[in-house]
């Protein structure tokens, strides 16, 4: 009998370095930004209004940072078990613009047997290799 591949990973399997296969997303579109803005309520025009974005010094609408951050952390949460999430920390490092292809990666950075918590280290990377979002997700087993 084989284990259910969609089941959340066991404590024993969450060793340092473990993680899901990387996931690519894109090319990202203005529609992705707008759908996220509508869902989140952040309607800053720099993320969808071409004229406003150019006047602010950008070549195109600037990707709304919480969008890849939301994708990255939800993707990692789905792998480790959504109900197990106890903390996420997110840091933005580089902008994204429409047309970018993003790659999400996650691995166990540390685990603590006493508290049965693992910390996943997450990155969302642009085609040119620059990390756009770095995040840390703590899960409780």
């Amino acid at each position: 009998m084989t284990a259910d591949p969609t089941a959340a990973p066991s404590w024993e399997s969450l060793v340092v370095g473990a993680g899901p296969e990387p996931m690519a997303r894109g090319p990202v579109t203005r529609t992705d930004f707008v759908r996220y803005q509508g869902a989140s309520g952040d309607m800053n025009p720099v993320h969808h209004d071409e004229t406003f974005a150019r006047a602010a010094g950008f070549p195109a609408p600037l990707g709304v940072g919480m969008w890849p951050a939301g994708m990255l952390t939800a993707w990692a949460a789905a792998w480790v078990g959504p109900e197990r999430v106890r903390r996420v920390r997110i840091r933005w490092q580089a902008p994204i613009f429409p047309g970018e292809v993003l790659t999400m990666e996650a691995r166990v950075g540390s685990r603590d047997d006493a508290s049965r918590q693992v910390e996943l280290e997450l990155t969302c990377t642009r085609q040119d290799g620059a990390v756009t979002v770095r995040a840390w997700l703590t899960a409780q087993l």
Partner: protein, 150 residues
């Protein structure tokens, strides 16, 4: 331009209902297809869902102290964000009692010159009994000149 006098400002309390349709909408927007975010009467929230607190603050005058920070839309950026859950994350059907405050405003010299002004807002989310369910910590940064692309 950041108003440093906003440090310590506290919003009035507001209520946030975690709604099933909103959870699904948000999950779809972040490409979160896991059944836990969609299925049943009480799907769990994606990790960054509490950012939708904005909709509930917008309906209650004085509840969002971030407005008093007055960060520039052109030169302001989201630098860091944190969510802490004191147990499994909230689910659709939960009602949260919330309050935001401006925890800190401070300056740093930028690597490429210019001054960076940081502002940190903390929001606490409690259940009906007053127990802390979640905390959000938003850090915004404003540059003294337009950010460079790339």
């Amino acid at each position: 331009m950041v108003d440093r006098s906003a440090e310590g400002a506290e919003g009035t309390p507001f209520t946030m209902d975690i709604e099933r349709g909103k959870v699904r909408e948000f999950a779809r927007a972040v490409g979160a297809s896991h059944a836990a975010f969609h299925a049943g009467e009480h799907p769990v929230i994606p990790p960054t869902f509490l950012t939708t607190q904005f909709f509930w603050e917008a309906a209650e005058e004085g509840s969002n102290p971030w407005e008093r920070v007055a960060m520039s839309q052109e030169r302001g950026m989201h630098a860091e964000q944190e969510y802490i859950f004191h147990g499994p994350p909230p689910r659709a059907g939960d009602r949260l009692h919330c309050r935001s405050r401006i925890e800190r405003i401070y300056e740093k010299q930028g690597r490429k010159g210019g001054t960076l002004t940081f502002a940190v807002m903390v929001t606490e989310f409690r259940d009906a009994a007053g127990a802390l369910v979640a905390e959000a910590r938003l850090t915004g940064v404003e540059t003294s000149k337009p950010p460079e692309e790339g």
